[in-house]
């Protein structure tokens, strides 16, 4: 098989290398990306969309449908993950050959936390003492106090960074998707450091089903409003600046909250 593998690799790699070799140099003013549709966006984008950040303008206006379907795709991915039957993970029951030197996978209960977080060998001893002082921390979280302290200290600042990313996304780099990823990262870090139960308490139970779908719902709402206002699905009222900003705002918040919840939910589903 190896000669064939090598041939396959070469067949794929050579056209790629040849293609990269013919790319115009970086910053070349006459490169196609600067002369074709991108130039049109830059030239007319501000006047046509009223948005100051061209990336956001392309994402929400020129490529609005793409972004809509993208959001639906991540929602569908979550639905697929949730549809997986629980406990179907192939847990080796001693039959699978475990190489020497690696710890065997615990049988039965899911090995929550084992290897899923950076643990130090002394964490166990520190944890037993820590748990007596802090009974609210789940006892199956083998996280060192240092990691726990740092995560708790940094979480609010990272959250503020995500909020800033979200609200300033229309003029600076950032926006809904980036904020969603950072929100999810905070949630996951808190879940690893403090335990799932405490992290999950950040989101009210009644809201969860709606929050998971809030990104596609926000897009559908804005698309419908645009339809009512302009007669085009996902159309933006270019003359009504306030309405346009409000629609973009709803979209960004929907993407940030919905995307973050989806990412965090996938994590929760895998952890438990």
């Amino acid at each position: 098989m190896r000669p064939w593998s090598l041939l396959l690799v070469l067949l794929v790699a050579l056209p790629l290398v040849a293609g990269v070799a013919t790319l115009p140099p970086h910053d070349a003013p006459d490169a196609p990306i600067h002369t074709q549709v991108g130039a049109l966006y830059l030239e007319r984008g501000v006047a046509e969309t009223g948005m100051k950040n061209m990336v956001t303008a392309v994402l929400l206006n020129y490529r609005g449908f793409d972004t809509f379907i993208e959001v639906v795709v991540i929602f569908t991915a979550l639905a697929a993950v949730l549809a997986l039957p629980k406990g179907s993970a192939p847990v080796p029951k001693g039959s699978a050959p475990v190489p020497k030197g690696s710890a065997p996978v615990p049988k039965g209960s899911a090995p929550v936390g084992k290897g899923s977080s950076p643990t130090s060998p002394s964490a166990g001893a520190a944890r037993s003492r820590e748990d007596e002082e802090r009974p609210e921390v789940a006892s199956d979280v083998p996280v060192s106090p240092v990691v726990r302290f740092v995560v708790r200290l940094l979480a609010p600042f990272i959250a503020m960074f995500a909020v800033a990313m979200l609200f300033r996304g229309h003029i600076t780099p950032g926006g809904g998707f980036q904020a969603a990823a950072v929100f999810a990262a905070i949630f996951i870090a808190l879940g690893l450091a403090l335990g799932q139960d405490r992290a999950a308490r950040l989101v009210p139970v009644d809201w969860r089903p709606w929050l998971q779908g809030v990104a596609p719902l926000a897009f559908a709402l804005v698309a419908w409003i645009g339809w009512r206002l302009t007669g085009a699905f996902l159309g933006y009222p270019i003359h009504d600046h306030t309405a346009q900003e409000a629609m973009g705002f709803v979209l960004e918040i929907g993407i940030a909250v919905g995307g973050g919840v989806i990412l965090a939910r996938v994590f929760l589903e895998m952890e438990t």
Binding site: V98, S116, Q178, A181, A185, F267, M270
Partner: protein, 81 residues
Amino acid sequence: MSDVFDVVMLTLLIATAVTVARARDLLAAVVIFSMYSLTMTLVWQHRGAPDVAMTEAAVGAGVTTVLFLITIARTTRREKP
């Protein structure tokens, strides 16, 4: 200057990618893959794409690494020969 940075970063990218593909220890592979994502973040930023760089840092280096780690915790750490 710019070329030197590009060459160093791309060499690092290739090195990490090959190492990830060759690693038998999946935990090491995940950690090196996270390093790959961080290098990629720098490349994006250097190429003038801060939006993509942010996403790469948060999703590539952060969230997917954790998901991979959980997967390793639930399966095995060693690649089967």
